[in-house]
């Protein structure tokens, strides 16, 4: 079970800020493929991966990151702090 979090317009497109996913996905990219298959909302949110960033257990990483032992994955657009 992995907690999947969404922020900013990714959260808006998906419609919820977080969901718990029962998955055996080996990498973030595999998890994304499973999420896209769920419904049109997920498909719309993940339509262009270049517009997205991913954090695994609160560390920024890439879509090829492994998910073994991971508790939390977050998807969001490029950050605009400061």
């Amino acid at each position: 079970m992995i907690d999947v979090l969404y922020f900013a317009w990714v959260r808006e497109r998906i419609g919820v800020p977080r969901e718990t996913v029962d998955t055996q996905a080996a990498t973030v990219a595999d998890l994304v493929a499973e999420l896209i298959a769920r419904d049109d909302y997920h498909a719309a949110a993940f339509a262009d991966l270049r517009a997205l960033r991913v954090a695994v257990d609160q560390e920024l990483t890439g879509f090829d990151a492994p998910l073994k032992g991971v508790r939390e994955v977050a998807f969001f657009p490029p950050m605009t702090g400061g």
């Binding site: 317009w9 977050a74 969001f76 490029p78 605009t80 702090g81 400061g82």
Partner: protein, 146 residues
């Protein structure tokens, strides 16, 4: 090191004085304050979303890096989230070092990293609705300086 992520406003001058008073031996203190600017079509407020937990962690990581790389005596980061009015302080960075170059560079570095590596997302709310602020290529390029 002080890192605060909060909805409440803060008093930049009081924070600067408290930071400087707590730091002995520094010859140079630099501060940066970010303030909500109005936009062409009239900003009702700036809304800032963040990722609780990761925000503190990401900021602490970049402050640690700055402390080591520039030999700072101390550094402070305060960043707000929630709804902020035009003219309100958004965030603040302060750095203390023996000499001016280190204090300036470290503050500049922290600003560039906060902009693109701390999980905040800004939204401009006007009478026409809410628009997510897009990150710019310049923001990402700024990181290459370091």
């Amino acid at each position: 090191m002080t890192v605060r992520v909060q909805t409440e406003a803060f008093d930049a001058g009081a924070e600067l004085n408290a930071f400087a008073a707590a730091t002995t031996g520094a010859g140079a203190v630099v501060s940066f304050t970010g303030i909500v600017r109005d936009v062409a079509d009239g900003l009702l407020h700036m809304r800032i979303e963040h990722y609780p937990g990761m925000t503190e962690r990401a900021i602490s990581g970049m402050v640690d890096q700055a402390l080591g790389r520039w030999g700072l005596m101390d550094a402070l980061v305060i960043h707000r989230h929630g709804d902020l009015a035009v003219g309100a302080p958004i965030m603040m960075v302060a750095t203390a070092a023996p000499h001016r170059a280190a204090a300036f560079e470290a503050a500049d570095f922290l600003m560039d990293y906060l902009k693109s590596r701390a999980p905040f997302w800004k939204q401009e709310v006007t009478a026409d609705g809410a628009t997510w602020v897009a990150a710019t290529v310049d923001d990402e390029d700024a990181l290459k300086r370091w």
